[in-house]
Symmetry: C2
Subunit: 199 residues, 2 copies
């Protein structure tokens, strides 16, 4: 059944393994358009330009901001990172599903712009118990409760209600996380009410 393309936003705290999960999905040939983030920080030895990131100068980054070329951008520890709008738009126009990796603040920005995207919160096992506890309390107010708590990890869950799904990236079980993300994509394609993404 032909379906509208999905925009999948994968986010989560640092250390959740977002890059590893995306790399594994590429290896497995998951048929998605993987959007490459633009970054101003220096390229590391193990990284490939235009694969891990599009490495550009601060001046070019500034031009891109002024040209409204980003879906989302942020300064992280003094470096600039942005999700370019053009490849997202091109993929949507072709009917191609897209996956975008952003930090939690970035996910919040994209949620405002494209609320019909599919938001997946990837977490490390250390956060599983905390979130499980929040979920057991079961109501939206659990998330309000999290707002009033103090620990760093609970801080991370502030944005939880922005997300549609939580996937735990268990140690040495990356394929389990990948299979859950694939299941989410399959299920989303079976939805009666399609998500309407337009940019």
């Amino acid at each position: 059944m032909p379906t509208r393309p999905l925009l999948i936003v994968i986010s989560g705290p640092s250390g959740a393994g977002k890059d590893a999960v995306l790399t594994r999905m590429k290896e497995l040939g998951c048929p998605l358009e993987y959007i490459v983030t633009v970054a101003t920080r220096p390229q590391r030895a193990e990284e490939r330009n235009n694969v891990n990131y599009h490495f550009i100068s601060r001046e070019r980054f500034q031009e891109m901001i002024e040209g409204n070329e980003f879906l989302e951008w942020a300064n992280v520890y003094g470096n600039w990172y942005g999700v370019p709008k053009k490849p997202v738009k091109q993929a949507l126009d072709k009917g191609q599903d897209i996956i975008v990796k952003v930090d939690v603040q970035g996910a919040a920005t994209i949620k405002k712009l494209l609320p019909q995207a599919v938001f997946i919160f990837l977490i490390p096992p250390s956060m599983e118990e905390l979130i499980s506890r929040l979920k057991q309390r079961q109501t939206e107010s659990a998330f309000d409760l999290a707002l009033r708590t103090k620990t760093a990890e609970e801080e991370e869950t502030k944005q939880l209600s922005l997300f549609d799904y939580i996937v735990v990236n268990k140690r040495d079980k990356i394929d389990l996380a990948v299979s859950e993300i694939k299941a989410i994509i399959t299920a989303e394609k079976c939805r009666v009410t399609p998500r309407e993404i337009s940019l």
Copy 2:
């Protein structure tokens, strides 16, 4: 991550292959509580009592109605069919996921009682094009439009907006339908906002 149990309602027009799909899921060992429907019609040669149906008398069926023992019941071509409440409640209490097979009217009844169940509409390939067309029109009003149409198949889509998901049971591809249902279950278990089922 421990999650609340799901109640999965599988429905669809007759001829969609609901029984075949459930049988295949059992063969594959999908860990669900399969609720057996109670029926008053005569047992057929190839059927096993308490496996395909619980075959009971009309008198006993009447008692069960009066005792409020059904989640849903209906008369189909002069025979009575009902989904017993007790095994559903027992499985929910144990935290066990449940799958229930009902006709489209039955799904509508369960939707009123337990709106947080997961509703899957299984369709034969002959309906795929019709529903695809409705989905392309993309808004809820597509379903309103279906309400005003005349063909038997379009008639079947009247209830479509009750459902969360559509799965096409393609000829000779039953394992594809089963894998989509499994993906839906996996995805539902990853939802941030859990479904709250109580009976």
